[in-house]
Symmetry: C2
Subunit: 109 residues, 2 copies
């Protein structure tokens, strides 16, 4: 009755899970955040250095870092008055690179 049913059953992911998944991808869906993530792929770096590299205001960067920090994608380490940020999760680089591989692949067609 499960396999021979008249309609194909769904994968079984809950609405909550799918919502969380879309919320997760949202973090990658902003140019500033993606650029921050790319920088962090090279290692730990301070807020001001990020702002300089991105040519953005310190406030804008700090706001985005808070979003990434709250989401657990990024982890702060305080040294004196400067705060260094690093990627908190090994998967972040994987997802970044998977997406990157996709668009590079698309370009090469």
């Amino acid at each position: 009755m499960s396999i021979s049913g008249e309609k194909q059953e769904k994968t079984g992911l809950s609405l909550d899970t799918l919502f969380e998944l879309s919320e997760f991808f949202k973090f990658f869906g902003d140019t500033t955040r993606i650029r921050i993530i790319e920088i962090l792929l090279s290692g730990e770096i301070s807020v001001n250095e990020i702002a300089e590299k991105l040519n953005l205001g310190q406030s804008a960067v700090s706001h985005q870092l808070r979003i990434l920090r709250t989401a657990g994608l990024v982890k702060p380490r305080r040294v004196g008055r400067t705060v260094f940020y690093a990627l908190d999760d090994e998967h972040i680089g994987l997802i970044f690179n998977t997406g990157l591989a996709h668009i590079l692949h698309k370009k090469g067609e």
Copy 2:
């Protein structure tokens, strides 16, 4: 002079590429689109069937399908007056599952 430089060089991704990457992830950053993608992982399906499964209006679904279609993530096939949609790119499932693995991993901590 490249390896022993005083500052670490960047990965070398252009602003354009990083912008495209964030735009790409944006497609996954919406609950409705993620749910559509999940449904399409099970195979081709018509617009109305998607709307029924999602309990959403036909218009809302059609609008989202247009976004996914324009982005090349989804491909239409017309049969009579009904249009069946399917994932156009093999990578879509990979990215979906990579993100899914991440949040499921996070939950299990």
